[in-house]
């Protein structure tokens, strides 16, 4: 019995420690005088979500490649700050003002969640370091659907919008919903009449497979296996150009079907507010090196991601534009705040 409790207490202690390894100090940031910056202690990379999801995977793979290639010699540890669709993690990073040893992984929810009034912090509150990956949205239907391309679907939606239901994993006003709205609107569908339901726990794919709903709005990567098995077909993807890779290269873009619109599920890294410029320069360079490395190319291939490097400045400009567009669209469909 003693042993059992000992193990229990040890395991519990380890867990507690794992949860408390954050460190508020920002000391140790050398290079204050506009010189160069070198990290002087472990760099903490926050995934503002639980283990096993997209943010977590990106953060862990990036940290692993940095370590294995030696691009960054200091250790990187990934911690999960789950909750509020990211808001809890962002609030945490926001509190690390000026620290050069903290960063977090982000993607479009960093815009969608604040736009929907669910976070006080948006991308403009943080220091953009670099974007590294692009992923794209896909619109899939059951393999025996009568629609063969996006125009078939959108023609039906123009004629009888009530007859088509779109399903995604996230809530209305968030990524799965808005990527569909954006493309459909460009095709001439009335964006205020799009029927969208949200389904968790694998319910979205299930509902498309059993015919309860018509269209699955999701990430390209989620569709590949089901397409290979012949269960679903992808009517169109939101990328500008055809993607590379087996199966992926068969998916037609919306643009090549005459719909002049695209949507990027960008993924990159941000630091806390007021990060020193020398540190930003350092990380920009390191992320560029990572993005160009063979090792990271392997990672991209494994998950079906595309390369998309942007330095901090370019990134910020890109995000400002995206945010304006999305905000306008949200207001048009009555979800603006």
């Amino acid at each position: 019995m003693k042993k059992t409790w000992l193990t229990a207490i040890l395991a519990a202690g380890a867990l507690t420690l794992a949860g408390c390894n954050s460190d508020n100090s920002s000391e140790g940031a050398s290079g204050e005088e506009g010189g160069s910056f070198e990290p002087s202690k472990t760099i903490e990379v926050v995934a503002p979500a639980g283990a096993g999801g997209g943010w977590d995977t990106t953060a862990r793979e990036v940290a692993r490649i940095f370590g294995e290639t030696g691009i960054i010699e200091e250790n990187l540890t990934v911690i999960n700050k789950e909750g509020g669709g990211g808001a809890i993690g962002w609030a945490y990073i926001h509190g690390q003002d000026g620290s050069a040893h903290n960063m977090f992984v982000a993607s479009p929810p960093l815009m969608f969640v604040p736009l929907n009034g669910q976070s006080e912090h948006g991308h403009e509150d943080f220091t953009p370091l670099a974007n590294v990956i692009a992923d794209y949205g896909a619109f899939a239907v059951s393999a025996d659907s009568e629609w063969d391309d996006l125009n078939d679907l959108f023609d039906q939606m123009k004629e009888d919008p009530e007859s088509v239901t779109v399903v995604g994993t996230s809530a209305p006003g968030s990524m799965d919903h808005m990527q569909f709205v954006r493309i459909a609107k460009a095709a001439g569908v009335d964006p205020t009449k799009i029927k969208y339901v949200s389904a968790q726990d694998g319910g979205a794919l299930t509902s498309v497979l059993n015919g309860s709903v018509d269209v699955f709005s999701t990430g390209v990567g989620e569709t590949v296996e089901q397409v290979r098995a012949g269960n679903i077909k992808v009517l169109g993807i939101t990328a500008e150009e055809r993607m590379e890779g087996e199966v992926l290269s068969e998916f037609p873009t919306a643009i090549e079907q005459g719909i002049d619109e695209s949507f990027v599920n960008w993924r990159g890294f941000f630091g806390p507010p007021n990060m020193d410029q020398a540190a930003v320069d350092y990380y920009e360079e390191k992320f560029k090196e990572l993005s160009e490395s063979e090792e990271f190319a392997e990672v991209r291939k494994k998950y079906g991601w595309s390369e998309m490097y942007m330095d901090g400045e370019e990134y910020e400009e890109f995000l400002d534009n995206e945010k304006q567009e999305i905000q306008a669209l949200l207001e048009e469909i009555g979800l603006g705040n």
């Binding site: 019995m1 059992t4 409790w5 193990t7 229990a8 395991a11 519990a12 867990l15 507690t16 794992a18 949860g19 639980g50 283990a51 096993g52 999801g53 995977t57 862990r60 692993r64 999960n80 789950e82 909750g83 509020g84 669709g85 808001a87 809890i88 609030a91 929907n116 009034g117 669910q118 976070s119 006080e120 009530e162 239901t165 809530a171 209305p172 006003g173 968030s174 029927k195 969208y196 339901v197 949200s198 389904a199 968790q200 726990d201 694998g202 319910g203 794919l205 299930t206 509902s207 497979l209 059993n210 015919g211 709903v213 296996e225 089901q226 290979r228 098995a229 494994k302 998950y303 979800l335």
Partner: protein, 499 residues
């Protein structure tokens, strides 16, 4: 490769020294973590993901699977001994397991739980092996209307979860439904009852409520009644022996509920928690002595225990054969697969048969290991009850806090645990039953989402619930389960009046 050859290949993986070693590590880690109140398979698997980086995928996944079903196996221990559910799937285990332990039959209760878990686990692995590909179509047969009807069926059973006042049970259930609406509504993105507090955006985790209402409330009761009981050590442990008549008594529930649990496990979104509740209610409804349930009934313990373990294997059907994760835990498992470069889905069986069948084959082995490991541990585990009361109470509180903290590493959840502990204590004092609250919390959220998804799809027509056979059948069953007992009561009263 046909299924038989595939299974042979699977056993080659599972029975290699590497396979055996990793199954063993997986189930030991899983069962230990599951035993601790509040620490469940999600945390265990999440911790393991970084460890398995760079490992060969087959043994790594066999180990992760072992952690998962091992945690469900071990989860019953703290439910039975301390009324502190180890994982959400073992809340129903406490209904009869804890009273048994209080009556000085802790050892026996643990043994029954272990046997029922083993039985449920093994039966469901056999079904998984024979039917996984065929069951893929069952897993996707439920659309939103059918889920709504299934949850409705579960809710109609609330009255049977209560002793005494039906009105109090209903109040408790309504409170449960109210609590589950807190958070961001997935269908509109609107915040409900969050008061703008970011910590409430995701609503409450099930474990915060279960540990509050059960473990902490029980701790308060123990402190209140500290002078009442004085069992000697021997009485506390009781005999380990499960007699032939016990086995006979539990054989019916075990067999039935292994099937029920497995099928509910196959449905994405249902899973071990709902399965264990439905199995418990099922057995109580068909029992000749329903009044024994909740007071240490062997059937009431065996039913949820075989069911939750069977559901765990069932959850591998949509995961392995469709790539659909049906729960938070299987979603983390899916992440683990992807990190190891394995894509679960319809093609896994043909692309990577050694992994598909290796996992299934390893589950036979894992279940045997679990039984062999757990049975000899029982006397030691049961001795936890002979720890002096003040120390025991402190340990329960400590583990509840750690368990809740490990869900999201957020101190806000700890305060909420205390709030629910206080609520649970008040409910006990004023004899409002906690199980209806918990059941309504689990089912209510899914029911609301399924209802509103259905309404959007049907453009607001209720006909969607009766126009297809599956939801219609489930709704008819729910109506019958409400009316038949009332009718029987009414008839027996008339008969007795005539006499």
């Amino acid at each position: 490769m046909d299924a038989f050859q595939g299974l042979l290949a699977g056993f080659q993986v599972a029975l290699s020294w590497e396979g055996i070693l990793f199954v063993l590590i997986g189930v030991v880690v899983g069962t230990l973590i599951g035993m601790m109140p509040g620490l469940g398979p999600i945390s265990a698997i999440a911790i393991m993901i970084p460890i398995t980086y760079g490992m060969d995928p087959a043994p790594a996944l066999v180990m992760m699977a072992g952690v998962y079903y091992g945690a469900v196996f071990g989860g019953s221990t703290s439910s039975i001994l301390l009324n502190a559910p180890g994982i959400s799937g073992t809340v129903a285990t406490a209904f009869d397991g804890y009273p048994m332990a209080q009556q000085g039959k802790a050892g026996k209760a643990l043994a029954i739980a272990a046997i029922a878990s083993f039985f449920g686990g093994t039966v469901s692995v056999i079904m998984l092996m024979l039917l996984a590909p065929a069951l893929a179509s069952v897993a996707i047969s439920f659309g939103p209307p059918a889920y709504f009807a299934l949850m409705l069926m579960g809710l109609t059973a609330i009255s049977s979860l209560s002793e005494g006042s039906t009105i109090k049970a209903m109040i408790s259930a309504v409170a449960g439904v109210m609590v589950v609406t807190i958070g961001i509504d997935p269908q509109t993105g609107t915040q409900r009852f969050t008061f703008g507090n970011v910590n409430l955006f995701d609503g409450f985790d099930f474990l915060v409520i279960a540990l509050g209402l059960f473990a902490l409330a029980e701790v308060c009761m123990l402190i209140m009644n500290r002078k009442n009981r004085n069992l000697s050590d021997d009485q506390k442990l009781g005999s380990l022996k499960v007699t032939k008549s016990d086995l006979k008594e539990m054989s019916g529930p075990m067999t039935r509920q292994s099937f029920v649990g497995f099928m509910l496990g196959v449905l994405p979104g249902a899973g071990a928690t709902i399965a264990s509740f439905i199995s418990y209610i099922f057995e109580k409804k068909i029992s000749k002595n329903p009044e024994e349930f909740g007071k240490g009934s062997i059937k009431g313990l065996a039913a949820p225990e075989s069911s939750n373990n069977a559901a765990t294997s069932g959850a591998f059907v949509p995961l392995l054969s469709l790539g659909i994760p049906g729960s938070g835990t299987t979603a983390v498992m899916l992440g683990a697969f992807l990190v190891l470069g394995v894509q679960p889905g319809p093609l896994l069986m043909s692309d990577r048969p050694e992994i598909f069948w290796g996992i299934i084959a390893s589950m036979y082995l894992g279940n045997i290991f679990l039984l062999v490991l757990n049975l000899p541990l029982i006397p030691y585990l049961a001795k936890i009850l002979s720890i002096p009361r003040p120390l025991l109470i402190s340990l329960v509180i400590m583990f509840s806090l750690i368990g809740v903290y490990s869900i999201s590493f957020n101190t806000f959840d700890l305060y909420m645990l205390l709030v629910f502990g206080a609520l649970g204590f008040a409910m006990r004092v004023f004899s409002f039953p906690a199980p209806p609250f918990i059941l309504a919390f689990i089912l209510g959220g899914m029911m609301e989402q399924a209802f509103r998804q259905s309404m959007t799809i049907s453009n607001g027509s209720l006909g969607i619930f009766v126009n297809s056979p599956l939801p219609l059948a489930l709704i008819i069953v729910s109506l019958l389960s409400l009316t038949i007992p009332a009718f029987i009561k009414w008839r027996s009263r008339r008969l007795s009046l005539k006499r």
